[in-house]
Symmetry: C2
Subunit: 297 residues, 2 copies
Amino acid sequence: MKPLNFKAWQTKVQAQTEMALNRFLPSETLSPEILHQAMRYAATGGGKRLRAMLVTAAAELGRYDEIALSQAIAAIEMIHAYSLIHDDLPCMDDDDMRRGKPSCHKAFGEAQALLAGDALQTLAFEVLSQENQLPYAQRLQSLRTLANASGSLGMAGGQSIDLSVVGLLPDLPALENMHALKTGALIRASVRLGALACFDVADDMLQKLDDYAADLGLAFQVVDDILDAQADSQVLGKTAGKDAENDKPSFVSFMGINAAKQYAHDLCQRAIYSVQNISADTHILQEMARFVLEREN
Amino acid sequence: MKPLNFKAWQTKVQAQTEMALNRFLPSETLSPEILHQAMRYAATGGGKRLRAMLVTAAAELGRYDEIALSQAIAAIEMIHAYSLIHDDLPCMDDDDMRRGKPSCHKAFGEAQALLAGDALQTLAFEVLSQENQLPYAQRLQSLRTLANASGSLGMAGGQSIDLSVVGLLPDLPALENMHALKTGALIRASVRLGALACFDVADDMLQKLDDYAADLGLAFQVVDDILDAQADSQVLGKTAGKDAENDKPSFVSFMGINAAKQYAHDLCQRAIYSVQNISADTHILQEMARFVLEREN
């Protein structure tokens, strides 16, 4: 079979992500309807699906279990969706738009949105604890990976630090550490969950994938800051210019826009080097690094 | 060894619960400090520990793994603590007091409290995915049990229904269904997690324990409504009279206080019957039913 070009592959993964989410999310007609509607509203039908792409690209390097892959995709995107719901709440970033539509609390009210985020997190772990063809030990490893990446020493910890640095300017390493937790941890978990959906997982490949994802995750955040400083809200699908408005430290405020662009470029190059000597076809992972660099929203 | 009387047993479990939580919660000196402080503030040092008692009492019916028991205790109390933090937020019940001290968002601000709840939920699943001596399949069963009980078809679903019935009066079955989800699901999960911490789990015992916990959980809620209508805030450790003030349907508003008391009594009797023919010493579980009936906060 001829390998798909990146654009066609991306379309395939986005469709598979919608299918996986539809499979594991409770029906909107099931009680409590409003909660299930809010969960679907936030999790389905939008987003770049960067994390699902990373899960899939890593899984496709080996011989993967199809059910395990769809569980990993659904779980990682549910955790991401939950974090966006809570991040958008008035007591956090207070954002009215997300993925080009009203944020979850604007559509369903704060209380139901809070619960929808809570229940999406729970569902992510439930999905990963369901049956598949992989050894039990590996399934528990996937659960631990997702939990470590999401909790107080991962994503939630990064958000906590992010909240406490508003108005303060830490040094660049402190900024990088915050992002390594806030977005980096889940991006690294994505490639790891993909690899763990395979029957044949090699430790040295896990290490190379992790190096790749660490650089890619940071590049993603540098580009995010550049887009926030430059783009308009309509292309971005969320409110632009928030960082400067909220006096938040960013790569742009630290380095200036040109150095930030060079930095993002260098990080993506390094990510590509990390996977070039994996003994499998890594062209999709390499294309993804270019995708992260060149994206407009 | 002479069996402990209930009071001494309860004190032992409360101490073991604090130990389990201290073991699995990240240190307050670890970054992000404020988040770890908020997590500990909400999870340790208070509460009746009803769920931890149920986990322990069920585990003590069989030959349990000590690490698995402490994991189950910590996980269930973390889920409970997370639900209380989020329940107390201004967009939910807006409660300033919890367990006799300022609620988490009063002490740490809304944003950090929200994240502390999020991270406590994550940590519950992480703890259950850590190593112990039990078979892998049983550990995955524990994870599924906790996830099912906490999510949109369990606790979070019950809270969603609870929010949408303010000012409306559904019938008694609707009220019971709401409580079966909101508090009942986690109480049933408690005895199940305790049984699943044992090397020898029998399906018929799981069924009897589940019948017990379903009645006990409902009795707990009926008593909660009675206490809310009668007690003062100081004894209760949280704001009393909230149900009537918020125009929330309750067992007291439906049945009147005397019928509610009789109902709680009947439910506890039925719970006791359910465990009387388990072939193990169930006196602690029976005492717990009396404890639920006679508690003052």
